[in-house]
């Protein structure tokens, strides 16, 4: 239930919310530093601090810290926050607790774009070893795929009134693109197939600063659009008819939400591959912790919680000291699912969306 949209929260609740944000911020900083300290190469914590403050100048470690770990940690923060926020938006718009960033089929569209390049063209241009394909090629093809699905969704959302129809159509598009990807996979050779499977497992450590700049720009644009949707989302909680009476243009509102979600999740999928689960789980945790449905609180909360979860997943995926990496997609699921199960059992039920 909405408590008068953040205007007359009593001071106790206000205090609790502030404390929670403070706590999350502290956890965030600790995890960010932990993420910088863990990796396949052993670098002592004191050395990390020294490098960050400029006191130490070890060349090898400096390169590893600033060229590998820092961009990876920043990517984790961007991915976690973007996916969580777009998941929250989707759950509210569709009034469905199972909705996530990929419910519109945007990630599936991105996968199709990448599959076409890796699997489809692989046969014609013969790519034994895909490393020859530059990173940008993959990013652009994923973006193109995601953009195509977004166009389709926009077109439909302008014509179809019923939100449930849009949800079902989105899921159908997702299934159709996945089916097409399956066909491509079926006809591919093992080596390229493996390359695609690895892409579909997600990766945070692949971005260089140039790519990070582009991704960050996309995410910032997505977040700015999100800010515009907060009021709309709060109104939508009361039902579409009620929001209409509040003067919200439903079609325009939906378009804005779909656009920001697609930019957020599409960009992350393009740069990091599909990362599952974060987008569905984090909004629920945010609602439970903050005990509110107000998006003025839920959006920053999801943003922080998402970053925290993603940083945690990244730390775990390194299996510290082993020199190996687990696919980050699996870690987010393995890490996230027990959290949500605990939350459900502890609270008996998820906080309802509206």
């Amino acid at each position: 239930m909405i408590t008068n949209a953040g205007t007359s929260l009593d001071s106790a609740v206000r205090m609790r919310t502030a404390l929670l944000f403070l706590l999350l911020a502290v956890i965030f900083i600790i995890l960010f530093l932990t993420d910088l300290m863990t990796g396949a190469v052993k670098i002592p914590a004191s050395e990390i601090i020294g490098l960050l403050s400029g006191a130490s100048q070890d060349k090898v470690w400096k390169t590893i810290l600033f060229d590998f770990r820092l961009p990876k940690a920043i990517t984790a923060v961007l991915a976690g926050s973007a996916l969580s926020v777009s998941g929250l938006q989707m759950q509210t718009v569709f009034r469905n607790p199972l909705a996530g960033p990929d419910v519109l089929g945007v990630s599936a569209g991105a996968s199709l774009g990448v599959a076409l390049v890796i699997l489809g063209f692989g046969d014609f241009f013969i790519i034994h070893n895909l490393s020859y394909l530059g990173n940008w090629t993959l990013i652009l093809s994923a973006w193109a795929g995601a953009g195509l699905v977004l166009l389709l969704i926009t077109f439909i959302s302008l014509r179809v009134r019923d939100i449930m129809t849009i949800l079902i159509l989105g899921i159908l598009f997702g299934s159709a693109t996945s089916a097409f990807v399956s066909i491509l996979q079926y006809f591919s050779q093992q080596s390229v197939l493996k390359a695609f499977v690895i892409w579909s497992m997600g990766s945070l450590g692949n971005l260089t600063y140039d790519q990070l700049r582009v991704l960050a720009t996309g995410i910032v644009v997505g977040f700015l659009l999100t800010l515009l949707t907060i009021k709309i989302l709060n109104a939508l909680l009361l039902g579409e008819n009620y929001s209409r009476s509040l003067g919200v243009n439903i079609k325009q509102a939906r378009f804005l939400v779909f656009l920001s979600t697609s930019i957020l999740s599409g960009s992350i999928t393009a740069f990091c591959g599909p990362i599952a689960f974060v987008g569905i789980a984090v909004p629920h945790v945010a609602r439970l912790l903050f005990r509110t449905a107000n998006h003025f609180i839920l959006i920053p909360a999801s943003l922080l919680l998402g970053s925290v979860l993603m940083l945690m997943a990244d730390v775990i995926s390194q299996i510290p000291g082993s020199g190996l990496l687990l696919p980050v997609n699996s870690v987010t699921a393995i890490l996230g699912i027990p959290v949500v199960i605990w939350v459900i059992i502890y609270n008996r039920r998820l906080v309802s969306i509206s």
């Binding site: 990796g39 396949a40 190469v41 090898v60 390169t63 590893i64 060229d67 590998f68 770990r69 046969d123 014609f124 241009f125 013969i126 790519i127 034994h128 070893n129 895909l130 490393s131 020859y132 530059g134 990173n135 940008w136 006809f187 050779q189 093992q190 390359a195 690895i198 892409w199 990766s203 945070l204 450590g205 692949n206 260089t208 140039d210 591959g273 390194q318 020199g323 190996l324 990496l325």
Partner: protein
């Protein structure tokens, strides 16, 4: 099993026309390869292929070859009788084309797998005029086309046990399949020694043994020369994919080549022969100390390498122009001769590598398979 015994006795029972050449003792000895056994028994050669894929354990395929057989026949999925010389064969790997080309029997090839991979010019011309068919690959073999081609034998390979489905299916269709496991051999000369298997199908054993011995002698000579080089430059291999570097172990074919060329493989302490994933930053830490960087994926230029990850621009091997790739001979579609004729020219590959790592040892050599990335 019973059938199998009968066939073997048959084999021994026949007159030994073949067992009279003075050279036959030489063909009996397998010097490097571990993946197959080769023995003469009566007038028939029995080739036993052992564990032809990575996880195989105790799997044996037996091929009995003789020109005295009235016709080829399949005993079961593990055993075939083949009448030699074969005149009509299908190759499912480009390395098979390399072996057959070396024996000058390319005309016998009527089917290949993946036309874009083929570099052999005779074969490409025959592909273009539809004299040779593309039979598909892995799970997508075109069985109807194979039936129509009626090959005397299909040379196949397996990445894992799923290849047994292909073998069973082809066996049911009455097409003899021969498993070739040369890719599992760790040493370049062991790989090339599979030439003796192919030669037996064409009744060219003696010829192949002589050719193999001369290549082996050259290779060993080069290796000993490179061993005497004073310094051992360290070598980084490969290119990452999505933040993970698949690192070949020190027992792998490429690692053997580098050691034989007088180089020091960066991961000489990793005692395995396949590739395993390693985190990018770990590889980078090693890479910062590498003098040379070889086989960076499909890259044809330094900018290809940067497109994958611009951080590589900081590596000393990159900055000092010590970046070489094994894709100097490509067909128009990108098929690489290194994986085709390279298998029967380990001496030339080794010369390339020695020239790269120790140019003073082979000053007049011209690179064949390797190119310097610009």
């Amino acid at each position: 099993m019973l059938l199998c015994c009968i066939v073997f006795t048959q084999c021994i029972g026949k007159a030994d026309k073949r067992h009279n050449g003075p050279d036959s003792a030489a063909t009996d000895t397998i010097r490097y390869a571990r993946g197959f056994n080769y023995r003469e028994s009566g007038n028939c050669i029995v080739i036993t292929v052992k564990d032809p894929w990575q996880q195989a354990n105790g799997i044996r395929y037996h091929y009995m070859l003789s020109d005295t057989f009235p016709a080829s026949g399949i005993v079961d999925e593990f055993t075939c009788r083949i009448k030699t010389p074969v005149k009509n064969v299908v190759c499912l790997s480009t390395t098979h084309i390399g072996f057959i080309g070396f024996l000058e029997q390319t005309a016998s090839v009527t089917g290949i797998s993946g036309r874009s991979y083929v570099v052999n010019e005779t074969l490409r011309a025959r592909l273009d005029s539809n004299l040779v068919a593309d039979v598909g690959y892995d799970e997508n073999l075109n069985y109807e086309l194979l039936l129509k081609l009626k090959p005397d034998v299909v040379f196949a390979y397996g990445i894992n046990s799923s290849v047994t489905n292909t073998i069973i299916k082809l066996t049911e269709l009455g097409i003899p399949v021969v498993m070739i496991g040369e890719y599992l051999e760790k040493e370049p000369l062991a790989k090339m020694e599979w030439l003796k298997v192919f030669a037996a199908f064409y009744d060219l054993e003696e010829d192949a043994a002589v050719k193999f011995d001369s290549v082996a002698t050259r290779y060993e000579g080069l290796r000993h020369m490179a061993l005497k080089a004073g310094n051992k430059p360290s070598v980084l291999l490969g290119l990452p994919w999505r933040g993970t570097w698949y690192v070949s172990g020190s027992q792998s074919y490429v690692a053997h080549l580098i050691t034989d060329a007088g180089g020091k493989y960066l991961w000489e302490h990793l005692d395995y022969n396949e590739s395993r994933p390693m985190a990018l930053e770990k590889v980078y830490e090693f890479a910062l100390s590498a003098d040379f960087w070889l086989n960076p994926g499909e890259a044809r230029s330094k900018s290809d390498v940067l497109a994958v990850d611009e951080r590589f621009g900081k590596l000393p091997s990159y900055k000092n122009d010590k970046l070489f790739n094994n894709n100097n001979v490509l067909n128009s579609a990108g098929g690489n001769a290194f994986f085709e004729s390279g298998v029967v020219e380990p001496d030339i590959i080794l010369s390339d590598l020695i020239y790269i790592l120790h140019p003073q040892l082979l000053p007049s050599h011209k690179l064949k398979y390797y190119r310097k990335l610009q």
